[in-house]
Structures are given as structure tokens and as C-alpha cells.
């Protein structure tokens, strides 16, 4: 008789500890996820001593162009330039479009800051990130297009890895 009673009982799993753990995991990931890093491709950067730490303000507009070893340029996770591999023309239409759009979103200032007259040109930095073995002419390609009359970006930043700071030695 007792055995039949046990069989009729419904098995219930206590979900509370699992939900607790899952919530803790979500809180952990929410805290450590930095959305400003989403535009950055995985690249091996050369190191520099004087590189200023890259700490972007999430509220501020920050244009970034990533250039892979092959010369493929990626901005906001979209390919904007693909170099030709078979001797034909580079696929570049999106690069100019990206730069024109970026330039229009940048803060502007007068070309001659002292006179405060004349043409206003973009006054923000464009961050260029390239792999250490990326041929530099691809970076120059971006620089050349920056000088286009529809773009006129003249401030650039080149990304570099920061070297670990040495501890001061005691004398």
C-alpha cells in the first residue's frame, strides 16, 4: 500500500537556486560587457610607449576603421573596402560613403581658428586600427580619401598596443 502512495507523488524540481545562479551570471556579464569595444576587430597591434590609453566615452561619437592583414577594411562590423585579388579594381564604394557620413556627424570648426572665418571643417579624430603586418598603403588609402572635398577629415589616431608600465625602481 505504501509503495503505491509513493508512485503517485509528482516529482518536482526546485528551480530557485538555478534562477539565482542565472541571474548572477547575467548581472556579471552586464557589468563587464563594454559596448564601446564592439567596433574593434581582433587585430595584433604594434606596441608604443607614448600611446594614450583608449577610454572612449560611450555617449560620444567615435568613428573607427579596422584594417586586416589582407587590406579588408571593417567599420561597425561591415566591410567597407575589399582589395582586388585578381588585378581588377578595388571594391571601395562603401569606404567613401562611410567617410562622408562620418565627416558629416563630426563636430566642425573653422579652418582658420584665429580668424574665425571661412570654411568649417571636421574637428574630431578618426581612429585607424590596423594589424601590425597590414601594408601601410591601405592606411594611406584611408588618409587619401580623408582629404576628399566631401570628407576633409584631417585629425587621425593610429591604434597601438600599450606597454606594461615598469614599476619605479628605488635608489
Amino acid at each position: 500500500m505504501n509503495l503505491s502512495k509513493h508512485q503517485s507523488e509528482e516529482m518536482k524540481m526546485d528551480m530557485t537556486p538555478m534562477i539565482d545562479v542565472v541571474f548572477l551570471l547575467i548581472i556579471f556579464f552586464m557589468l563587464i560587457t563594454d559596448m564601446t569595444q564592439q567596433d574593434l576587430e581582433v587585430l595584433t597591434l604594434p606596441k608604443a610607449k607614448t600611446a594614450v590609453a583608449d577610454e572612449p566615452d560611450p555617449k560620444e561619437f567615435r568613428p573607427v576603421i579596422n584594417i586586416r592583414q589582407t587590406g579588408v577594411m571593417v567599420a561597425k562590423r561591415e566591410t567597407i573596402f575589399s582589395p582586388a585579388t585578381d588585378g581588377s579594381k578595388d571594391d571601395e564604394k562603401d569606404l567613401m560613403g562611410y567617410l562622408v557620413n562620418t565627416s558629416s556627424l563630426m563636430k566642425t570648426d573653422f579652418f582658420d581658428k584665429e580668424k574665425k572665418t571661412g570654411v568649417q571643417i571636421p574637428d574630431d579624430f578618426l581612429l585607424i586600427r590596423a594589424d601590425r603586418f597590414t601594408p601601410f598603403h591601405y592606411v594611406q588609402r584611408v588618409m587619401t580619401d580623408c582629404g576628399n572635398t566631401d570628407v576633409q577629415i584631417w585629425k587621425i589616431q593610429l591604434a597601438a598596443g600599450t606597454e606594461a608600465k615598469e614599476k619605479p625602481t628605488e635608489n
Partner: protein
């Protein structure tokens, strides 16, 4: 009376299944999008502003020209054998594989003197640039990369120029030159 009693005695149960579903979806989203913060910095430089449509009538200033010329192109060595990467990423071609450049060499020409791209060469450049900076801290520096140089050839010289104290650093030269 009996109906009311029944309602009162019923236990209020919260349906947890949709909440757990949403929670798991959120967890999967965060786990997929996570990217750990990397130690990264940036070096500021400028492009020529006084050319093209905005050309100004400013007095020409004597600039320090630094040419970066390739001496040896080096050869590409895949960081992983192509067969290994082909197993991992079958859609990648051999050109997509990450590579190292072995035997790649450049030379830096600061005004008329030429230096190697090793530590000793960069130290000599640093000393020469420091002398030039002492003589005129406002002087502009122009980096002129020639064909065949890679990104890692530019960063050490730009780093040295900024380390010495020059603030007006410009790039010259264009794609394909």
C-alpha cells in the same frame, strides 16, 4: 459559500517558464557578445590641412621630413599551417590566414641621415630628434612612408617622434606611391 471558500484556499502560483526562457536568452546574448577589454592606446597625427580646397596663404615652415623606406620585403610565414586553419575554417583561402613577416627590414631617413629599424637605430633617431626639438620645439615633423612598409614600421617612428616632444606630426604620401 463553498465557491468562495474554494477560491480562498487555492494557492496563487506564478508561471516561471517564460521568465526562465527570457533569462536564458539574455544569458546567451551576453555570452555571445562578450569581448574582454584589451589594453589599447592611440597615437595622434594629422593629415595635411593646408592643401586642396582649403589652401591657406600661411608662411611655409621648414619641416623635418622622415622617410620610411623598405629595404627587404621579407616573406610571409603563416602563423598556423594552412592545413590546420583549413580544418578550423574551411571557407578561408590561404590569403586569409594570419601571417608573420620574416626578414622584413626598413630604413628611416631623418633629413639626410639614414638609420636602421632596430633598437640602436631608433635610439640614434631619438637623440637626433631631441637635438632638433631643443633647437625649435614648434617645428613640424612629416612622416613619409614609401611603398612596401607595413603598419608595424610606422608606429615605432611615430612613437619616437611623440616621445621626443613634437606635437605637430603630419603624414604625407598617398596610396600607391
Amino acid at each position: 459559500m463553498s465557491i468562495l471558500q474554494d477560491i480562498a484556499s487555492e494557492e496563487a502560483e506564478l508561471e516561471m517558464t517564460p521568465m526562465i526562457d527570457v533569462t536564458f536568452l539574455l544569458l546567451i546574448f551576453f555570452m555571445c557578445t562578450i569581448k574582454f577589454k584589451t589594453l589599447e592606446g592611440k597615437l595622434a597625427a594629422y593629415l595635411p590641412k593646408d592643401v586642396g580646397v582649403n589652401a591657406s596663404d600661411a608662411e611655409p615652415m621648414e619641416k623635418i621630413d622622415i622617410y620610411i623606406r623598405m629595404e627587404k620585403p621579407g616573406h610571409k610565414v603563416l602563423s598556423k599551417p594552412y592545413e590546420t586553419t583549413k580544418e578550423e575554417f574551411p571557407w578561408n583561402s590561404i590569403e586569409d590566414g594570419e601571417f608573420f613577416l620574416v626578414g622584413h627590414e626598413v630604413k628611416y631617413q631623418v633629413i639626410r641621415d639614414t638609420f636602421k629599424d632596430d633598437k640602436d637605430g631608433l635610439d640614434k633617431i631619438r637623440r637626433k630628434l631631441a637635438d632638433l626639438h631643443r633647437a625649435d620645439p614648434e617645428r613640424a615633423v612629416t612622416l613619409k612612408p614609401m611603398q612596401g612598409v607595413v603598419y608595424a614600421d610606422i608606429i615605432p617612428i611615430l612613437d619616437t617622434v611623440i616621445e621626443v616632444g613634437f606635437t605637430d606630426v603630419t603624414f604625407a604620401g598617398s596610396y600607391g606611391q
